[in-house]
């Protein structure tokens, strides 16, 4: 199972330090939130984790091998990412689209393995899209498109799920439902997950640990209960953030 190790990582973009000396270790069955204000470097960090952004310093290792040294296809069979932009509405059916998630696992150049078709179909079913299999992607609503993107990621069966704003285009009910479906799958398959989000409450609800990126390139890493405090969050977002607790739940809001 995937074991991600980020060691003294620094990322800069056009002279700006996004993160400096970041150390995180993500093990099997762990769910991590990635928080920080706009432009703090959440997306850049996720792109670095799939080898698409060079580390300026430090290392990113998956099961002991640098992600920059792993073949693209092999990396794709282990690490899957949901992009912030979601998927484009090009002419294609829902089923054709979800099957793309099986690309890193495809054995034959020409034929689709029945097992791949099975996995893709159950991924659609997990997000209630099984009735829409033959629908054209262009005809889907924003929410349906986002569910399709999540189904495609699920079909990829990665050991490490990276999510960039998974709650985009989803109403409150769907946010909770879809993220429950996804996090349950992560637990079932002993995979792990890193979720970049603007929604502190969502991160607190679905993740045990969190990486909080501060504006100056500093970062705070640890368990949600330790890291997600009024003081830390106010510092990260540059505005006063308060919280109320009720039992195990904690709710954050800008003062």
């Amino acid at each position: 199972m995937a074991n991600l190790k980020i060691q003294s990582l620094s990322l800069h973009i056009e002279g700006k330090t996004l993160c400096h000396d970041l150390n995180v270790q993500v093990g099997e069955n762990e769910r991590w939130g990635l928080l920080g204000k706009n432009g703090a470097g959440k997306t850049t960090l996720l792109h670095a984790l799939i080898g698409q952004r060079r580390a300026d310093q430090g290392s990113i290792e998956l099961d002991g091998i640098s992600v920059y040294d792993i073949k693209q296809r092999e990396l794709a069979s282990k690490v899957g990412i949901l992009f912030q932009q979601g998927i484009e509405a090009l002419p294609a059916t829902v089923f054709e689209t979800v099957m793309l998630g099986r690309h890193p696992h495809a054995q034959s150049l020409l034929w689709d393995d029945p097992q791949d078709i099975e996995i893709a179909k159950s991924a659609l079913a997990a997000f209630d899209l099984d009735q829409l299999q033959e629908r054209a992607v262009e005809s889907l609503s924003g929410g349906e498109l986002q569910r399709l993107a999540l189904a495609m990621l699920l079909a990829q069966t990665p050991q490490l799920f990276l999510l960039d704003e998974p709650s985009n285009h989803l109403d409150v009910a769907f946010q909770v439902k879809l993220l429950s479906v996804l996090t349950n799958k992560v637990v079932e398959t002993s995979a792990s997950l890193i979720m970049a989000t603007h929604d502190i409450n969502l991160a607190f609800r679905f993740c045990e640990n969190v990486i909080l990126l501060l504006a100056d390139g500093e970062s705070i890493v640890g368990s949600c209960t330790d890291v997600l405090t009024e003081e830390h969050l106010s510092r990260a977002y540059g505005c006063h953030i308060k919280s109320v607790s009720s039992g195990e739940h904690r709710l954050f809001y800008p003062a």
């Binding site: 799939i50 296809r73 092999e74 794709a76 998927i87 090009l90 793309l100 690309h103 495809a106 150049l109």
Partner: protein, 326 residues
Amino acid sequence: MIAQKQILVLISLTVVCVASIVFSLLSGSVDITATELARSIFSSEPSLSTQVLQEIRIPRTLAAFVTGGLLALSGAIMQVLLRNPLADPYILGISGGAAVGALSAILLGATGFWLSNAAFAGAVFSIFLVFGIANKFGSWSVTRLLLTGVVVSAGWGAVINILLTTSSTNNVQSMLFWLMGDLSQSSVNPAHYLLLLVGLVGGIAVSRSLNVLIRGELLAVSLGVNVQSLRLLLFFSASVFTATAVTIAGSVGFVGLIIPHMLRLLGARDHRLLIPSCVLLGGSFLVLADSLARTLIAPQQLPVGVVTAVIGVPAFILILRSTIRK
């Protein structure tokens, strides 16, 4: 992808292909009946029809097929590479370069062999020019490639106009035929067939990756496609297909743009089906267009590029209408 449905599509396209080839072999100024066609294929007995077929019609029909197949293949690849529905084999200036080469050769009185070589040299020069400029500052993006191609194309257009306006009327006639695409001077050699075959097999081999790449570069990377090398491969192979096609027949328009789109509209979006379908339909389409170009106003001949547009435009609009109504 349902294998049965795909095989059915490919079988029907093969039938269309054979029918268009037979139609082409039967049409022309010398009347040849189907029985005569069969007789000259299956017996070596010399006759007028055998001679007409072997020396004129078969080479020309094959030239049309290879050209159409290469253009449709190149168009389908360019549309994935540039992620632009308007992309066609000529969008990156390859035909412009070939045209300047060919027209200069005509100006110097060259024909046949030298004309083809000049066109090919012009095309290859243009490929490296566009790639060199787009690649100049390290990483080449699709937008940069597209812009470079369009600008270089415009430059070639200007040179073509200069050549046309300063040439004698006699030369202008041959130049216009070349520019519109014309198969009357064409000949193909085994290297051309081989290229089409390699393109077909290679295209099918990367078709899964094409399915992913057309959805976006970043997505393709995240699904394990080596986008950098795939794009290089696509650029150079599509360029070589185009260069070869224009060398055989001049810049025949329309095939490379419309055939892939027609097939996509009809449901062949999966490249595992689209690539072989493009070769079959692109080839058949040009064979058919060329038969009409030879016979419509016989004994005079039309440039085949005119016919492709005349039958292609209404056919495409019909398909567009019928698929929208669904």
